[in-house]
């Protein structure tokens, strides 16, 4: 089952530069929440704070609270490595490990942590994750070929399989379809729809149609000018966001007037 995320007074910095200002947002469990907004407004940055990937950039830090089912991810004794096991991430460009086969890629989350895994357990986990990522039928006969030999869309679904194989509660997706062709995009979108049964999904997208198709809720981020911090402008369920937004900027953005 997925878990809910509450973001409270989140300010995100790169060094001394305030990149995103005062975000307050409630992300519902087992729903798809989309982040949309013009380039540079900080939607990917906000996403990366949800699994503490943001702080990997030198100088990057943030203030405020991110509560996963009530527990602050930025609490004092919280291990970022443990957070990243509860909150999985899929990136813009498919990034399977080039030295590993399909099977090894799916198992990477377990084996890279030096955890030994029995062969039968591994077989089950690989099948479970690949089925979950709608990839099993395409690759079940060639699990030992390198993961980078697959097509772009298959690679992205392999990366999703790799992410779900560590059994996270939340799945973050940073423009997962922007490097894919329309057919592969459709496959990944169908998959997202199925995955929300088991995970809370947060997706960043530049494609408003995609947000309208797959998201239950949509958050619109905006920035006043280049060099100013981005902020959460408007948050609503997706139908309201695209049909009857109660916010001037959001209305202009979803109707294609800027961005």
């Amino acid at each position: 089952m997925g878990q809910r995320i509450d973001i409270k007074h989140l300010n995100i910095y790169y060094g001394s530069f305030l990149a995103v200002e005062d975000v307050n947002l409630e992300i519902q469990a087992n729903k798809v929440t989309a982040f949309i907004g013009p380039s540079g407004c900080g939607k990917s940055t906000v996403l990366r704070t949800l699994d503490r990937m943001h702080e990997l950039t030198p100088g990057a830090h943030c203030t405020g609270e991110v509560l996963l089912e009530g527990q602050n991810l930025y609490g004092k004794d919280v291990d970022p490595v443990a957070v990243r096991r509860d909150v999985g991430m899929v990136f813009q460009r498919p990034n399977p490990f080039p030295t590993m086969s399909i099977r090894q890629n799916v198992l990477a989350g377990v084996t890279l942590n030096n955890r030994r895994i029995a062969k039968s357990d591994a077989d089950d986990l690989v099948e479970w994750a690949l089925r979950g990522a709608n990839l099993w039928n395409e690759v079940k006969d060639r699990l030992d070929v390198p993961g980078i030999g697959l097509s772009g869309g298959q690679q992205q679904r392999l990366c999703i399989a790799r992410a779900v194989a560590v059994h996270p509660q939340v799945l973050l997706m940073d423009e997962p379809c922007s490097a894919l062709d329309p057919i592969s995009t459709l496959a990944v979108e169908d998959l997202i729809n199925e995955l929300k049964q088991d995970y809370t999904i947060v997706i960043v997208t530049h494609n408003m149609q995609q947000a309208a198709r797959i998201a239950d809720y949509t958050a619109f981020f905006n920035l006043q000018a280049v060099g100013k911090p981005g902020h959460l402008e408007y948050f609503a369920d997706t139908t309201t966001m695209f049909n009857n937004p109660q916010n001037v900027e959001a209305e202009r953005y979803v109707s294609g007037h800027f961005g």
């Binding site: 699994d51 990937m53 990997l56 030198p58 490595v81 443990a82 957070v83 990243r84 096991r85 999985g88 991430m89 990136f91 460009r93 990034n95 399977p96 490990f97 080039p98 030295t99 990477a108 989350g109 890279l112 942590n113 030096n114 070929v145 390198p146 980078i148 030999g149 990366c159 790799r162 992410a163 560590v166």
Partner: protein, 343 residues
């Protein structure tokens, strides 16, 4: 050459120096004919092309001449005395140009053992230190002052003359183990100083080209930084690191001067890296070359060969080349086996 203005016969009327003054918000009028490439003659261009082609092929041929010549000379002269007896004996019992009791004229067994052991010792020292240093520089240091200082030191180190490395190792062992100490490991220390900058630099380059995506992919799976570095970053860069290490070995395996100072020279076989002098192939070649001719007294047997030292030197040189070649082949095979495959 024609000036462009003479060719622009098609300039439209009304656009020239007498262009009318334009309003402030009006875009400037551009005469694009001015920017067209001037017509050059096809024949002249072809001549120039041919000339450059000949020049490049010639340069390549000139670069090949010394290479082919060195290989050919070493092969032709080295084969003469290269046989099993030469490979399986050392230089004990060699008197002048006379044949030894085994029927040969002495050999290089002790020098091959010395070369392999001393080079292995240098690898054991410099590869871990160099790789860890590069990992620190790329994965941890960022843009710190310390990293800049290390970069500078590595650059300076790569320019150290090998004789200085020899002196350093010699004086270090003189301080630690007593004056005048000579042993194989001392040679390894000298060679490792020469290898280190190459290992650091090539490893650094290899770590740099590992895409950041892979580090993030691993960290996002909840893998610790240490395991991300050892199992993803270093594993992905491994083929390049191996090639770099082989390159560094090839650079030091032919070193003579520092080994003369540190490992010394003996005629018998010494397999103990940590005690007693040791001969390496380059030093052996040098020693034989300095003898130049062997003594053959009037009452010597017919088998006595006065030119034997130079012949031994050439054969030893050939063996050294073959060892470097084998190392290169091993490196390539290892790199290919470890490289990520597409299919």
């Amino acid at each position: 050459m024609n000036s462009p203005s003479q060719q622009n016969t098609g300039t439209p009327v009304g656009r020239g120096s007498a262009a009318p003054a334009r309003a402030a918000d009006e875009a400037p009028v551009i005469d694009f004919d001015k920017f067209k490439p001037t017509r050059s003659h096809v024949a002249a261009r072809k001549r120039k092309d041919l000339f450059m082609r000949v020049l490049i092929v010639l340069a390549f041929a000139i670069a090949c001449i010394p290479l082919v010549s060195v290989l050919w000379t070493t092969l032709a002269r080295g084969f003469r005395r290269l046989n099993w007896d030469f490979l399986s004996h050392n230089m004990t019992n060699v008197i002048g140009g006379n044949p030894t009791p085994s029927g040969g004229y002495g050999g290089i067994l002790h020098a091959v053992i010395g070369t392999l052991e001393i080079t292995l010792g240098a690898m054991v020292i410099s590869i871990p230190v160099g790789v860890l240093c590069a990992v620190y520089l790329i994965e941890y240091a960022g843009k710190s002052r310390l990293a800049d200082a290390i970069h500078l030191l590595v650059d300076v180190m790569s320019g150290i003359p090998s004789i200085v490395a020899g002196l350093f190792a010699f004086s270090m062992f003189a301080l630690l183990a007593g004056p005048g100490t000579l042993n194989g490991f001392e040679g390894s220390v000298a060679l490792s100083l020469l290898m280190l900058p190459t290992v650091v630099k090539t490893t650094e380059e290899m770590l740099k080209i590992v895409p950041n995506d892979l580090r993030e992919a691993s960290l996002a799976l909840g893998v610790t930084k240490q395991r991300t570095i050892t199992k993803v970053v270093l594993r992905t860069a491994l083929p390049g690191i191996v090639s770099g290490a082989i390159l560094a070995i090839a650079r030091v395996i032919g070193e003579t001067a520092p080994l003369l100072m540190t490992a010394g020279y003996i005629v018998s076989t010494n397999a103990n890296l940590f005690s007693g002098q040791m001969t390496t192939l380059p030093v052996y070649v040098y020693q034989e070359y300095s003898k130049y001719r062997a003594n053959c007294p009037a009452d010597a047997s017919d088998g006595c060969v006065t030119s034997i030292p130079m012949e031994r030197a050439w054969s030893a040189a050939l063996v050294l080349i073959i060892i470097v070649l084998i190392l290169n082949v091993i490196g390539r095979v290892v790199a290919r086996v470890l490289a990520p495959k597409k299919k």
